[in-house]
């Protein structure tokens, strides 16, 4: 076993709304959350940066949110979402890619670790990547770490599910039976995700099969926070009788940020809302009934979500699910809300539901465990391997010539779920189209080896010379074993206007079978 007592082994979870870091305490043999609030005990910080033009400095996290509008600053949020979209921003005139911006954020985030022990070095970092993240998103994440000067410390990107289950199995490795059935519910900021897994322990490796997964973008914690902000705004207007000016968005955001805890993290008790950001200050007394009315629809939504997830996993009834599932792991910032915890407890019963001390940090803690395992500091526990029949085991795509090279261009990326939406690709045919054109679909495995998968023939293309037929090709899965390819003519300038050509191919392409030996 290697000794990293004096060095930091980090797990970093970069979320679109909040981020967190965990440090694996090799001495105590457990992951610990790092304070990101300047000493006030909050283990997560908003994924927000503020650039102060006058002093050319970056402010990160909570201070950036709370002081929004206080200076001549540029506030950058939605960093992860924009990273995926390939957007750019120009906080000081110069255009920056979001990978560079995320790099700045990571640098600021990691500074907090130094306060634990200013003399320690970083031994390695595992970063959480969403299960559905494709190669592009992953390469941007890697680029961001490089930008932060930590490229050489990055041990790897670990899927969120590996982190959550890694955290769980690290705690329960000795206690758990060799086989068990686990459910995870990740109540994140953008969506809620659930999965049902069958796990078996073989030596130092936990092999996990995902038997069902479910997600819903309508019940993310962010949507609830937005609704809370609207509610606060409504009460603000009720409190001042419509006499004061409309509050600035910054003032309301900052107010909502400070009062969210009061609203969500305690049992339904009346709250005094003091709107001190306006002058003269006003007040609204929010009753327990107001809070109940606000929270109830979300409770119903979460219960429905859990029921649907169980149905998808093939449980005939709730009772059957309760009989078979050993533990339900609840993670994500959503479960820091009192009502959400209560809903899960009421549904599953007290004993089966497991909440971590810091629900938001569980993924980062899991990542630090994975990092520690990979660095060889943990005995008896090495790796979590998840097989998900709903996840593509290989990239599926086309070979496209670019200058003199032939490049593999994925239409559907490895690790993405079959039900995900995929952006189309645009290609130009390198041959005349007076006869049917046959193109080959390829698959690329994790090792980068590309092999032939299927051939499709494009028929009835508009007749055009070589190099002027531009096609839009989109891939979509209708079921786990059924992929549809849609090819459409895009036209080519004024000389070759868009024609009516459109052809659909349904291919029997089991995501598991076509790449049986791969994993995240």
């Amino acid at each position: 076993m290697k000794n990293f007592d004096a060095d930091f082994i980090l797990g970093i979870d970069l979320g679109n709304d909040t981020s967190s870091i965990s440090c694996f305490n090799a001495r105590a043999g457990k992951p610990e959350a790092v304070d990101l609030s300047g000493g006030y005990g909050k283990p997560s910080a908003p994924t927000v940066l503020q650039y102060l033009r006058e002093t050319s400095e970056w402010v990160f996290g909570e201070y950036a949110v709370q002081n929004e509008g206080a200076d001549n600053e540029v506030l950058i949020s939605d960093i992860i979402r924009n990273l995926e979209n390939g957007e750019r921003a120009a906080p000081y005139g110069e255009s920056l890619g979001y990978a560079e911006i995320l790099g700045v954020y990571i640098r600021e985030l990691v500074k907090n670790v130094k306060t634990l022990n200013p003399n320690a070095a970083i031994a390695g970092i595992a970063a959480v990547a969403p299960s559905w993240a494709g190669e592009r998103a992953k390469s941007d994440l890697r680029a961001a770490f490089k930008e932060a000067g930590l490229g050489d410390k990055l041990i790897g990107l670990v899927s969120d599910r590996q982190c959550i289950l890694g955290r769980y199995y690290f705690d329960n490795y000795q206690k758990k039976a060799a086989r068990s059935k686990i459910m995870t519910i990740d109540f994140g900021s953008r969506e809620a995700r659930a999965g049902v897994y069958e796990a078996s322990i073989t030596g130092a490796v936990v092999n996990i099969n995902c038997t069902a997964s479910h997600f819903d973008v309508n019940i993310g914690a962010r949507a609830i926070n937005d609704a809370a902000r609207e509610l606060f705004e409504k009460f603000y207007h009720l409190a001042d009788g419509g006499t004061s000016a409309r509050p600035t968005r910054q003032a309301l955001d900052s107010f909502a940020y400070k009062h969210r805890d009061l609203l969500f993290q305690r049992a339904l008790k009346p709250i005094r809302l003091y709107f001190n950001f306006t002058y003269p200050p006003t007040q609204y007394n929010m009753s327990a009934r107001d809070i109940k009315d606000f929270v109830t629809p979300f409770e119903v939504q979460l219960t429905d979500f859990i029921e649907t997830a169980l149905k998808k996993a093939g449980f005939g009834s709730k009772e059957a699910a309760l009989r078979e599932i050993d533990d339900v792991i609840c993670v994500g910032g959503g479960f820091e809300m009192d009502w959400a915890k209560k809903t899960a407890r009421d549904f599953f019963g007290e004993k089966r539901v497991l909440f971590y001390k810091n629900a938001k940090v569980a993924a980062a803690e899991g990542a630090s465990v994975v990092a520690a395992a990979r660095l060889g500091t943990i005995e008896n526990f090495k790796e979590i391997i998840i097989r998900d029949k709903n996840q593509l085991r290989a990239d599926i795509g086309l070979k496209v010539r670019c200058l003199k090279n032939e490049l593999f261009t994925p239409l559907a990326e490895r690790n993405s779920f079959w039900w995900q939406e995929r952006p189309p690709k645009y290609v130009i045919l390198d041959e005349k189209t007076d006869a049917p054109v046959t193109i080959t679909l390829w698959k690329r495995d994790a090792a980068g080896d590309v092999s032939r998968l299927k051939e499709i023939t494009l028929q009835n293309l508009p007749k055009r010379p070589r190099g002027v037929t531009k096609l839009k090709i989109a891939a979509r899965f209708d079921a786990r074993d059924s992929m549809t390819l849609l090819a459409e003519d895009c036209g080519f300038g004024e000389l070759f206007p868009k024609g009516s050509y459109s052809q659909r191919f349904t291919l029997n392409l089991d995501v598991n079978r076509d790449a049986p030996d791969l994993n995240a």
Partner: protein
């Protein structure tokens, strides 16, 4: 999810850091052997604030609102909200509030008791809902600043009892010592460390020694502690308040005095109170921002509305903030203002470093292996810089947040009280300063030396020599107890008038039979408890057997 064990020997104890600005409660979780902070009203940090209002169901009664809501409510209801009550503990003066038209008055310990009671109630609920414990917290370990007077300690104990804890189960521990424990629990090597605790209202320094026992558990000894009860983040805030007030004076031509309610300057009392609460909040926010950014804006627009609109809109740079010397009294007492007049933040940090020197001197050290920063005010970047300059090493912050470490340390203490037989860190309590009696010639007779281990049952030390009467036919003898915070390295007895001597208590032993001087002899026993409370017993050795006992209870009744 871990649950607490049920086989507790002394009931369940809560660790409370009752701070000037914020309070934190933690519990020791037996299942994972860790202290866990209890979120109260959703946050780990609970503002030490209470707001009174008429009970909606019975307007002859008062109801109370606590924490964040009270702190925010202070802007609208400054006359019925109490902030920073800890600074008032030990004062005889009552706190007056106005609800509606009615005036009410409370002792500081009643108000502190209300707040502690709310913390207890929320912690009881948490224990039941999250830790599956039936029952409630019967006892607590509540922390006090290192330099608290016995009277302040007594008042905080009284507050905890008023808050609902069992009279015999309220333990006091020193704040820096508690913080030290939360750091030391994970230590695996012997070391001496300095805990630098710059809180909201007080500054404390404490030198600890960690020794790893054979079984691998750390044994922690407090070698010395030293502090300043009137130096904290609130005083740093006042630098920014002073800067803003200077700007305000410029805008108003010095015609309005916000700190004088009685003066007729056209601004109502209520308006002045509201303005001051807003100013305080803006100053705190600007100070916190200056910990991470180089500039902060203070915008109070409008700051006053009548007799004319006055708006403040100023930018403060970190350099200005560190360099500004205070010029306004800002409602402080003359004594307190004298302490901070013409001082800047650098000077204040300098004062803390002088306390550090005294603490090191008392421990007989010139250097330590590690320095830990505790308390919200230690987040000021200049603190780390100056400490680094002084010790030539980077100070540590904790894996535990600096703001939570005191309460978590108190929770470890709880474990030692609740389950003394269970393994875990052990704190070896020691006496901090020599304590003794005044004897003839106004000299100090040391009875309890510094650095003596205090066993669980308390430390009982008998004066080596019996005291004798100095005059013929006296029937009483003065028993006056002093603490010597600056012991001299000399065999000569120090005068009780010398610097560093603190008179702790005094009483008289009456009923000594008349006789020649020197005939009657009196035996004195000092009993120091683990909570650093002192009880002195003086007994006449003659047949009369007159006895007097001196303790905090007797002193301040």
């Amino acid at each position: 999810m871990g649950t607490l064990g049920f086989d507790l020997e002394r009931g369940l104890f809560l660790g409370i850091d009752f701070g000037t600005t914020n309070s934190v409660a933690s519990v020791y979780n037996f299942s994972d052997g860790e202290a866990r902070t209890i979120p109260i009203d959703g946050g780990n940090i609970f503002p030490t604030a209470v707001q009174f209002e008429a009970d909606p169901e019975d307007d002859t009664k008062l109801s109370r609102i606590f924490g964040t809501q009270a702190r925010e409510g202070a802007v609208i209801y400054p006359q019925s909200t109490i902030l920073s009550v800890k600074r008032l503990l030990g004062n005889e003066e009552k706190i007056e509030i106005i609800v509606g038209e009615k005036k009410y008055s409370f002792t500081p310990e009643q108000v502190a008791g209300d707040i502690i009671g709310y913390i207890k109630q929320k912690s009881d609920e948490y224990a039941q809902e999250e830790l599956n414990i039936a029952g409630e917290f019967s006892g607590c370990v509540i922390t006090v600043p290192a330099n608290s007077t016995d009277k302040q300690k007594k008042k905080i104990k009284e507050s905890a009892i008023l808050g609902g804890f069992d009279e015999n189960n309220v333990y006091l521990r020193l704040e820096p010592a508690a913080a030290a424990i939360s750091y030391a629990v994970n230590e695996t090597s012997d070391k001496r460390a300095l805990v630098y605790d710059f809180g909201g209202g007080t500054f404390d320094a404490c030198v600890i020694q960690v020794k790893i026992e054979e079984i691998g558990e750390p044994s922690i000894s407090i070698l010395s502690s030293y502090g300043d009860n009137n130096l904290g983040g609130n005083d740093v805030d006042k630098i920014i308040i002073d800067m803003v007030y200077e700007e305000f004076k410029r805008l108003t031509g010095g015609e309005i005095d916000l700190f004088d309610d009685e003066i007729d300057d056209g601004v109502s009392k209520r308006q002045k109170k509201v303005a001051l609460v807003r100013l305080q909040q803006a100053a705190t926010q600007a100070k916190e921002r200056l910990s991470t950014a180089k500039t902060a804006k203070v915008v109070l627009a409008p700051f006053l509305q009548e007799p004319r609109i006055v708006s403040v809109n100023m930018e403060i740079t970190r350099e200005d903030f560190l360099a500004h010397r205070r010029v306004n009294q800002l409602g402080d007492s003359d004594e307190l203002f004298e302490k901070f007049r013409d001082k800047n933040v650098e000077d204040m940090i300098g004062d803390t470093l002088r306390s550090v020197d005294k603490c090191l001197e008392a421990a007989g050290l010139t250097d330590v292996d590690e320095i830990f920063l505790v308390g919200g005010s230690s987040s000021i970047p200049r603190v780390s810089e100056l400490i680094k300059e002084k010790f030539n090493k980077e100070p540590f912050k904790s894996r535990v947040s600096p703001a939570l470490s005191i309460s978590q340390g108190a929770a470890y203490y709880c474990n030692m009280i609740m389950m003394p037989t269970v393994k875990g860190p052990v704190v070896q309590e020691k006496t901090i300063h020599p304590i003794g009696l005044e004897i003839a010639g106004r000299r100090f007779l040391e009875i309890v030396a510094s650095g003596v281990d205090i066993p669980k049952e308390g430390l009982a030390i008998e004066a080596k020599e019996l005291l004798t009467t100095n005059f013929d036919n006296v029937t009483s003898m003065a028993i006056v107890v002093y603490e010597n915070t600056s012991p001299e390295k000399s065999d000569k007895l120090q005068s009780v008038n010398s610097k560093g001597m603190i008179r702790l208590a005094g009483t008289s032993l009456r009923g000594i039979p008349q006789g020649e001087k020197g005939k009657e002899k009196v035996k004195v026993i000092f009993n120091v408890g683990q909570d650093n409370m002192l009880r002195v017993t003086a007994r006449s050795m003659s047949e009369s057997g007159a006895v007097t006992e001196l303790s905090v209870d007797e002193l301040y009744k």
